[in-house]
């Protein structure tokens, strides 16, 4: 729809330390399979340093990253982040 369509993405822990921010907006729609490429372009080195150990949620559900980023898949992943959705990068937790 509009050219300014975006979704909000939140960063926590090591992900927020790497990006230097806790939240931002990125252009929507965006396939989950492309998201890590977009983040790597914006924050060079982030994939190796941070994203490799992170989960990802869209809304309040985790995305199956193995399926979405699956090695050898010819087509792009099935989950597409839509305008207005809320995405979070979830590093290994340290509650308690």
């Amino acid at each position: 729809m509009s050219e300014n369509a975006t979704f909000q993405i939140h960063y926590f822990s090591t992900a927020s330390a790497y990006t230097g921010k806790s939240t931002e907006r990125l252009p929507a729609p965006l396939p989950v399979a492309r998201l890590f490429d977009v983040l790597e372009e914006r924050y060079p080195g982030m994939r190796k340093a941070v994203l490799g150990s992170c989960g990802l949620s869209v809304g309040d559900e985790y995305v199956d990253l193995d399926a979405e980023l699956g090695v050898g898949q010819s087509s792009e992943g099935r989950v597409v982040i839509k305008e207005g959705e809320e995405v979070a990068v979830i590093p290994p937790v340290s509650s308690g």
Partner: protein, 188 residues
């Protein structure tokens, strides 16, 4: 270092305001299940263990266990000034609820409380409180430990150690076991 949680400190882009569920002003966030007698809380204010326990007391409970995780003043001999916690509540409360419901059903508990403090937690103060009650002691002891370990494994909350020397470090629970020892094979 201000007392503001990390989301506020790093918030700089006015085009990306925080949604209400990440805004500390909207806390505490509390979920209760009256049927299972479950109480779950995320809060930026100090925990009150006496109040925590009152949620699990009942005539049918003969055993009441309270665990408090408090900020220790050192990490590997390096003096710690304070801890700072951030959370992603949509997932954290969902995980806490799943853990709590499973524990109540598995151990036939009469009550269960999980409370986690967010933002700055000074040395000596509690970041997590778990209270469990059951008819007899075995179930309460076992469930208390199990709930804590499952929370540390999977609840979407992150701890940053802030050292007296000014350094800061995000922690990962998967790196340490219940005795504080490094788990072989974990990252870094």
């Amino acid at each position: 270092m201000s007392n503001l949680p990390q989301q506020q400190q790093q918030q700089s882009d006015p085009s990306s305001p925080l949604p209400p569920h990440l805004d500390p002003i909207t806390y505490p966030r509390i979920i209760t299940d009256p049927t299972l007698n479950i109480h779950l809380t995320l809060t930026y204010t100090p925990l009150n263990p006496s109040n925590t326990l009152t949620h699990v007391f009942s005539p049918s409970a003969g055993a009441n266990v309270l665990f408090l995780g408090t900020t220790r003043d050192t990490f590997e001999n390096r003096p710690v000034a304070q801890l700072s916690y951030t959370s992603y509540p949509p997932l954290a409360l969902k995980s806490m609820r799943r853990i709590a419901e499973e524990a109540v059903r598995t151990h036939n508990l009469t009550g269960l409380v999980i409370e986690h403090r967010l933002g700055v937690v000074p040395v000596g103060e509690a970041s997590i409180a778990i209270a469990v009650s059951s008819g007899h002691r075995a179930a309460a002891w076992a469930a208390g430990e199990e709930v804590l370990e499952r929370c540390k494994e999977g609840v979407e909350i992150w701890k940053r150690e802030e050292f007296v020397d000014g350094g800061k470090c995000w922690r990962e629970n998967r790196e340490r076991d219940g005795e504080g020892n490094l788990i072989t094979g974990s990252k870094s």
